[in-house]
């Protein structure tokens, strides 16, 4: 359960104050598949960063499974990012000199209890995203869709509860975008919470829950018709 209460984030740039997030109160249950949409500058990436503990709210509270993140040290947040969240980025953010396997294995470096056979665990994740035969390829030798799948495998390797994806299809063509979205949907049906940020309406529309931000405020939440506990839930409070 992710719980945001009256979260605000302000960027000040000299005399300019940019209110990136205002009075955001959200409850995101496990197994939710949520899209956050909005125009550029609406605060959707800021919200995702706060959800993923990359950033701290200016004011308000953020609780993860009942724990207040404001009480956590930087190291505590790093541990949460390592264990609780998996990140997927628009530009993939793969290490160009590392092959697929070496990229996926990175979260284990920072894990307090990595598996006994990290390479096998890594290989399993690559199999899961359909890249069983691309293990030794460098990112430059892979297509955009394949690179994003490597990134998803990396996000999954520590078995996190929540996948956070910032414009995961932003750099991909329509067909590949759909493939990536299908993988994310599959992860959700496996039990993961998946939260994506997107500005593409057709991508957002495929997600059961769609939160729309404007000028840092939550202005709309679309819920699926048949809301039940098995596919999570989102509430704007």
């Amino acid at each position: 359960m992710l719980y945001l209460n009256q979260v605000e984030k302000v960027y000040s740039n000299g005399s300019n104050r940019i209110e990136a997030l205002q009075e955001i109160s959200l409850k995101i249950s496990p197994h939710t598949f949520l899209a956050i949409q909005g125009k550029s500058g609406s605060g959707k990436t800021t919200l995702l960063n706060i959800l993923g503990c990359l950033d701290r709210p200016e004011s308000g509270a953020y609780q993860i499974d009942g724990e207040d993140t404001s009480l956590k040290s930087d190291n505590g947040l790093a541990a949460l990012r390592n264990k609780k969240f998996g990140f997927v980025f628009q530009s993939f953010n793969l290490m160009p000199r590392f092959n697929a396997l070496e990229n996926v294995i990175i979260p284990f470096i920072y894990s307090p209890n990595p598996p006994g056979r990290p390479k096998e665990a890594t290989q399993q994740m690559l199999n899961k995203v359909g890249l069983s035969d691309r293990t030794k390829h460098l990112p430059g030798e892979l297509s955009g869709g394949q690179q994003q799948r490597v990134a998803i495998a990396r996000a999954l390797v520590n078995n996190p509860d929540v996948i956070l994806a910032d414009e995961p299809t932003g750099a991909l063509d329509n067909q590949t975008s759909q493939e990536i979205l299908d993988i994310l949907a599959e992860l959700n049906s496996d039990g993961k919470t998946v939260i994506i940020v997107t500005h593409e309406k057709d991508i957002a529309q495929q997600c059961p829950y769609v939160l729309t931000l404007s000028d840092g405020r939550a202005i709309d939440l679309k819920k699926p018709g048949n809301e039940n506990l098995s596919n999570g839930g989102v509430n704007v409070l």
Binding site: N13, L54, N75, R81, K83, M95, P118
Partner: protein
């Protein structure tokens, strides 16, 4: 597991940026190389001083001369106008100055030596006292030194240096052979051990030693110009040398007496090495410092180029200390590599310096260990700032590739 992964990625990074790595290495490499040379040459010099003192054997003796070293001093007819001391003045020295043990008047000449038709020019002929061998700590490789009885009987005998023996009697036993100096045939009764080049730069192995009596018969010297004096207590060496000098200068007002201690000579000769070592230390320190600074800046630069990577690592759960640790591991690894290359360069440099400047060098485990230690320290010390900077990067900003808000 975690460490091996980290090391592997470090090696990858270093390998992929080999040019940057090379520049990072240069300063430390030179610094370590010079450091290794300082140590090896320093130890060699020290050993040589000790060795020389051992060889000269006399830390309790000094030598006085009426002419500077390298000039005349034969004690022959005073046709150079040089001051000559009489035997009496010299041998009575222990009576005048307390603390002097023995006096060893030495007569010197440079003269041709013949064996049959063979002739060697300009050979040092020394007329020495009986205890010369003992005081000067001379060893014989064969035969014996002349004895009291030899002198009583007035035998024409000589002890020769090994180089001279080789020149005249290659492959033969020189004992019992005759050499000719002036008009006298001298029988060789002993051959000295090799001593090499003497303090005055002459070949100490091209020498003929005869008794005073034989020397007088050969050259009819009118006085002495060289006297070796031993003292009872080596601690008083300098004081007694000064006293002896002023004693003779008192007898011969206006004349200058020259004094030399073997130990001081050995030290003075290695002044070159000491000076060299001093400047080498400055060079080593400077280049280590420059190397460290260069490495710090290049590491900073490389961090600026890897901000997104650092942001990503933070997003994947790296703590601040993981990031700074990785930077430190990288700088440490680079400096160890630089250190190893530097040690190898140091060996080459030392050999080159030792050959060119006629210095001795001794390699031992000290040089590589100290060299590596300094390289590692430099890597860690100068890695701290870039490491801290990298650790402090804000993950959100770093993921966007920017450092500042």
């Amino acid at each position: 597991m975690k460490k091996s992964l980290l090391l592997r990625s470090t090696f990858k990074h270093i390998g992929a940026n080999s040019l940057t790595t090379l520049f990072m290495c240069v300063g430390i490499m030179i610094g370590v190389a010079v450091l290794v040379a300082v140590i090896a040459l320093g130890r060699g010099t020290e050993a040589r001083i000790l060795d020389r003192i051992d060889r000269v054997g006399v830390t309790d003796s000094f030598t006085i001369r009426t002419v500077p070293w390298g000039l005349g001093g034969g004690g022959l007819r005073d046709d150079h106008g040089e001051l000559l001391l009489s035997f009496d003045e010299v041998t009575s020295l222990p009576k005048h100055i307390q603390g002097i043990d023995t006096v060893l008047p030495t007569l010197n000449a440079r003269n041709p030596v013949l064996v049959g038709q063979e002739k060697l020019e300009d050979i040092a002929i020394q007329g020495v006292a009986l205890d010369f061998q003992q005081v000067r700590n001379l060893n014989l490789s064969s035969g014996s030194f002349f004895s009291e009885a030899d002198i009583q009987s007035g035998s024409h005998i000589a002890v020769i240096g090994p180089a001279l023996a080789n020149n005249f009697f290659p492959g033969e036993n020189p004992l019992g052979k005759l050499i000719q100096v002036e008009d006298l045939q001298l029988e060789v009764i002993g051959v000295l051990d090799t001593r090499g080049i003497s303090n005055s730069g002459r070949n100490a192995d091209q020498i003929v030693l005869v008794s005073h009596e034989v020397f007088v018969e050969l050259f009819q010297p009118v006085g002495l110009s060289t006297v070796t004096v031993t003292v009872q207590d080596p601690a008083n060496l300098e004081k007694l040398a000064a006293e002896t000098r002023s004693y003779f200068e008192g007898i011969y007002p206006g004349e200058e007496i020259f004094v030399r201690y073997p130990m001081a000579t050995a030290r003075a000769r290695d002044e070159v090495a000491n000076t060299l070592s001093f400047y080498l230390k400055i060079i080593a320190g400077t280049s280590l410092l420059i190397g460290g600074t260069v490495m710090m800046n290049l590491t900073n630069l490389s961090i600026s180029g890897r901000i997104r990577e650092i942001g990503l690592r933070k997003a994947l759960g790296a703590r601040n200390k993981d990031i700074s640790g990785q930077v430190l591991v990288e700088t440490a690894l680079v400096s160890i590599i630089a250190g190893i290359v530097g040690i190898l360069l140091g060996y080459l440099l030392t050999n080159e310096l030792a050959t060119r400047l006629d210095l001795r060098s001794i390699f031992s485990w000290h040089a590589p260990v100290i060299g590596l230690f300094f390289a590692l320290i430099i890597g860690l010390v100068f890695g701290v700032r870039p490491a801290k900077r990298a650790a402090k990067l804000d993950p959100v900003l770093a993921l966007r590739g920017s450092q500042q808000k």
